[in-house]
């Protein structure tokens, strides 16, 4: 028994100071084990087989020859797989993507649909057998043509209403001194996180134990419970280290097929998606076609704002890329109309990908604003400042802190914006044309109900248990700092354990909500524990544990427009001989709430901006009309920004707080990409005098677009 001590008199105040990652040493030495790296005795290996047709029915699965191949243990397919429950609405309010509910019928709704799982003793045997498996199909004509001109597009809500509308759009446009009316497109984009999806499933003492790589163990466990009709207490999902997620790491075909095989074979089964399989099984950002109409008075005040966006989804799952969300937050106008539409095609299901909606939407909106600034003869920052709304343009709600103007002022000062010559196409350095651009960023602030347990151990240390996920965000470290402050002890006395559904329900690492959701729960539990210990007494051998649940506190939160903001700046150089665009420098200044750990936060914001460069210049998945699949669906065919593409990027922030959050956190995971591609595109215009409204800004597009100096 030990006397409990917390330093009630000397607050440590580590939140806001830089700390290297608590698991950093494990990551640089190779000791950190990811999902596919936990050894199990008797492990068998599953290899998925994907459809080679884009639409049709499975006629036969030639299991016979494959089952006689060396080491093959089983072939699962729609003819022998257990039936799953799929008519439920999951934790985040959406039904499961049928792509994850594998082998339920003979339908093939897109190229690369999972049709079988081959299980064998070794990965080499499983792979060869999977490649040898002959599946025959009744092929049907497929339709993958994504176009705004199609008659079968329809408005769809998703997480946000499809349509918002006020005022007389045509009248306000007619009365405007300056009008921008343009179409912008963004291509299909893929998450491409470095660690492929991997899961090992096994039955252990009557419980299903799944070692996985995901963005929320509660989330995945809940889906497995429902899909396999199991008792909630019978499923445990662990996910200690996650090699990136970006929205893709949820319930997918690999966990479900691994559970099926482990159940059938009564031994541990691991299924890892190959890089190529990820391009059809793990979601992606839909291409978008966006139409923007802006009308303004001579002084730049917006009279009319219309933003329409179309995205594609699969025939089996409706996903809305809510690109018009930015317009609902950033700018008001007398006539204001936004609409998200979708079209169902014979393509894989898209999903959330870093700043879903805001990333493509901000490209279109912030590029259009730049065009309007040019027409009005106004500085693009001044145009935005003149259109700062006092309340939510659509909601009418008050803003819970809107420091966008401060971001622009600080960013402009540091970037040297005041010296900018607004004329396009007039700066040349050898074969390079130079230009600078800016754009605004915003991303919603949210939190999901979470529980945490904080234990005072007899040795004077503290253990925090929460089903959080650190997908590279630094959440584990951030929560360590938050807990230390709430307990008022040095961080060396705090141990944070995450990534285990047995720790109790918690929100996901997604929507920039992770650290805010979990820090809230940790603060509540740690604060109560500190009070209990302050009352005196001793810590028994089993420790003293306090649990928290933020459900009620979040439910009582006042409705406000809660967002993180940012101002993005980019300098681009355009090679007049090759059409190559190079970003020379980038600066982002953000108002994103209280920054828990400046070291990891800066890294994450810069990472988002790097995605913006990648989105502006490189990323583009191209579908082949003949096969319905992707050309080059791998990391050679799908280029993400590499070292040589990325210049020195600076990210910083202005003082900002969410007054209603116990720690003051808003969220930083996504706001870094928002507006970043637009800032680059606007810089390319400033360099060349040519507007690029289709991403990515490839060399061939730059050359074909011509322009005065190219």
């Amino acid at each position: 028994m030990t006397t409990a001590t917390t330093g009630a008199a000397t607050p440590t105040g580590v939140v806001g100071t830089a700390h290297t990652r608590v698991e950093g040493r494990d990551k640089v030495t190779g000791a950190a084990r990811y999902a596919g790296e936990i050894p199990f005795a008797g492990l068998a290996h599953g290899w998925l087989v994907l459809s080679t047709v884009a639409r049709g029915r499975i006629l036969s699965v030639g299991t016979g020859p494959v089952l006689s191949m060396p080491g093959v243990l089983a072939v699962l397919h729609h003819g022998n797989a257990p039936r799953l429950t799929t008519d439920y609405v999951g934790m985040l309010g959406v039904p499961p993507d049928p792509t994850a509910a594998v082998f339920q019928d003979d339908r093939v709704p897109h190229a690369g649909w999972p049709v079988a799982l081959v299980v064998a003793e070794t990965p080499e045997q499983a792979r060869e057998a999977a490649e040898a498996l002959v599946v025959t199909y009744e092929r049907e004509p497929h339709d993958i043509v994504f176009s705004d001109a199609r008659p079968d597009t329809y408005p769809a809500d998703g997480h946000l209403p499809a349509l918002t509308e006020k005022g007389d759009m045509e009248a306000e446009l007619a009365a405007s001194a300056h009008v921008v009316d343009e179409e912008y497109t963004t291509p299909e984009e893929h998450h491409a996180m470095m660690e492929p999806h991997a899961a090992t499933a096994r039955w252990d003492g009557g419980r299903l134990d799944v070692v996985d790589s995901n963005q929320g163990t509660t989330w995945v466990a809940d889906e497995l419970v429902r899909m396999f009709s199991l008792d909630a207490s019978a499923v445990r999902v662990r996910s200690e280290h996650v090699g990136g997620g970006f929205g893709s790491k949820r319930l997918r075909a690999h966990q479900v097929s691994a559970v099926m095989a482990a159940t059938l074979l009564r031994r541990p089964v691991r299924v890892v998606l190959t890089r190529r399989q990820m391009f059809s099984l793990s979601g992606y950002r839909s291409p978008t076609t966006q139409r923007i109409r802006l009308g303004a008075d001579p002084d730049g005040r917006l009279r009319a704002l219309e933003h329409r966006s179309l995205n594609q989804t699969s025939t089996v799952w409706e996903f809305v890329e809510p690109s018009t969300g930015v317009a609902r937050v950033l700018y008001d106008a007398d006539a204001h109309r936004t609409e998200n539409r979708v079209v169902r095609l014979d393509v894989p299901s898209p999903t959330w990908m870093r700043a879903p909606g805001e990333a493509p939407g901000s490209f279109a909106m912030e590029a259009a604003l730049d065009e309007l600034a040019e027409k009005c003869g106004l500085d693009p920052i001044e145009l935005r400042l003149r259109n700062e709304p006092e309340r939510g343009p659509v909601s009418g709600l008050e803003f819970a802190g809107r420091n966008l103007a401060a971001c622009f002022r600080e960013g402009a000062r540091r970037f040297g914006w005041a010296d900018r010559d607004p004329r396009p196409g007039v700066r040349r350095e050898g074969r390079w044309l130079l230009g600078t651009g800016t754009a605004a960023a915003s991303f919603p602030v949210g939190a999901l109900p979470s529980t945490a347990a904080v234990t005072a151990e007899p040795d004077g240390t503290f253990t925090v248990r929460i089903a959080a996920a650190d997908i590279g965000t630094g959440a584990r470290t951030a929560l360590t700092l938050v807990a230390a402050d709430a307990l008022r002890v040095p961080i060396v006395r705090v141990r944070v354990r995450i990534g285990d559904s047995d720790f109790g329900p918690a929100g996901i690492a997604g929507g920039s909500m992770g650290t805010r959701s979990w820090a809230w729960a940790v603060t509540a539990a740690a604060g109560e524990l500190r009070e209990r210990l302050a009352a005196g007494g001793t810590v028994p051998p089993e420790g003293i544990t306090v649990r928290s649940d933020t459900t009620a506190a979040l439910g009582a939160l006042a409705r406000k427009e809660r967002h993180s903001y940012g101002a993005q700046f980019a300098e681009a150089a355009v090679d007049v001989t090759t059409g190559e665009v190079r970003v020379r420098r980038m600066l982002g200044v953000f108002a994103a709430g209280r920054i828990v750990n400046p070291l990891t936060a800066r890294n994450q914001l810069v990472g988002g901006m790097t995605w913006g460069i990648s989105m502006a210049l490189h990323e583009e998945a191209v579908r082949d009309g003949a096969s319905g699949g992707l050309y080059g669906g791998d990391l050679a065919g799908y280029h993400v920004a590499s070292h040589a593409d990325v210049p020195a990027i600076e990210a910083d922030w202005v003082d900002d707080q969410d007054p209603d959050d116990p720690v003051g956190i808003k969220g930083i995971g996504e706001v870094g990409i928002v507006g970043a591609a637009a800032a680059v595109a606007n810089a390319v215009w400033h360099a060349t005098g040519v507007r690029h409204r289709c991403l990515p800004i490839r060399p061939d597009r730059v050359l074909r677009a011509g322009g005065p100096r190219v």
Partner: protein, 184 residues
């Protein structure tokens, strides 16, 4: 008689010899991860496109997913697990940790192995595509951020920690050249 599909090989990894029977199809990467429990080397694409599986073979960078285990005999293989000396991190590891040269950590072992070789390649005078003066007598070019970026471009980091990685490589390179460091 069916042809043999496996062979016994001896792999020299991090100074230790391992003799094992491997399927001829087994890559060096899978031998490390699945057979020897050396999971520090990561599988990001299994196609030689991402660099996550980079190890040092006889001191040179190699993507271990594109090398068969049976072709790796009599080579000195160094993985991320073999860089630190006991508790003392390799200067590159130290710099990655201190400067936060990663986020999710999955590309990190490959980046670190690559960086170790980059520093050696540069010191040995190897030019890169961005080296301006490639004459042998010109000697190693300054290890500028541009040189580091070019030389590290075989290693993708989707989290976008490139800036911090470049700083870490520069710091580790400077730490490894004490005479220059002392003169600076």
């Amino acid at each position: 008689m069916a042809p043999s599909t496996s062979s016994t090989v001896t792999l020299n990894i991090n100074g230790e010899k391992h003799t094992l029977s491997v399927d001829h199809r087994t890559t060096l990467l899978d031998a490390l991860r699945e057979r020897l429990d050396l999971t520090g080397t990561k599988k990001g694409c299994d196609q030689g496109q991402c660099g996550a599986c980079t190890v040092l073979v006889d001191g040179r960078r190699t993507v271990s997913c594109l090398q068969l285990a049976v072709a790796s005999q009599e080579r000195e293989i160094t993985t991320v697990e073999g860089l630190a000396e006991g508790e003392r991190l390799h200067p590159v590891q130290r710099a990655f940790l201190d400067l936060d040269g990663f986020q999710c950590g999955y590309c990190t072992p490959g980046q670190i192995c690559s960086a170790v070789a980059v520093i050696e390649e540069h010191a040995a005078g190897w030019p890169s595509a961005v080296t301006e003066d490639v004459r042998p007598e010109a000697g190693p070019p300054p290890l500028t951020p541009e040189e580091i970026r070019e030389r590290m471009s075989g290693n993708l980091c989707r989290c976008g920690a490139y800036g911090q990685i470049v700083q870490a490589v520069a710091r580790a390179a400077a730490a490894g050249t004490p005479t220059e460091g002392a003169a600076a």
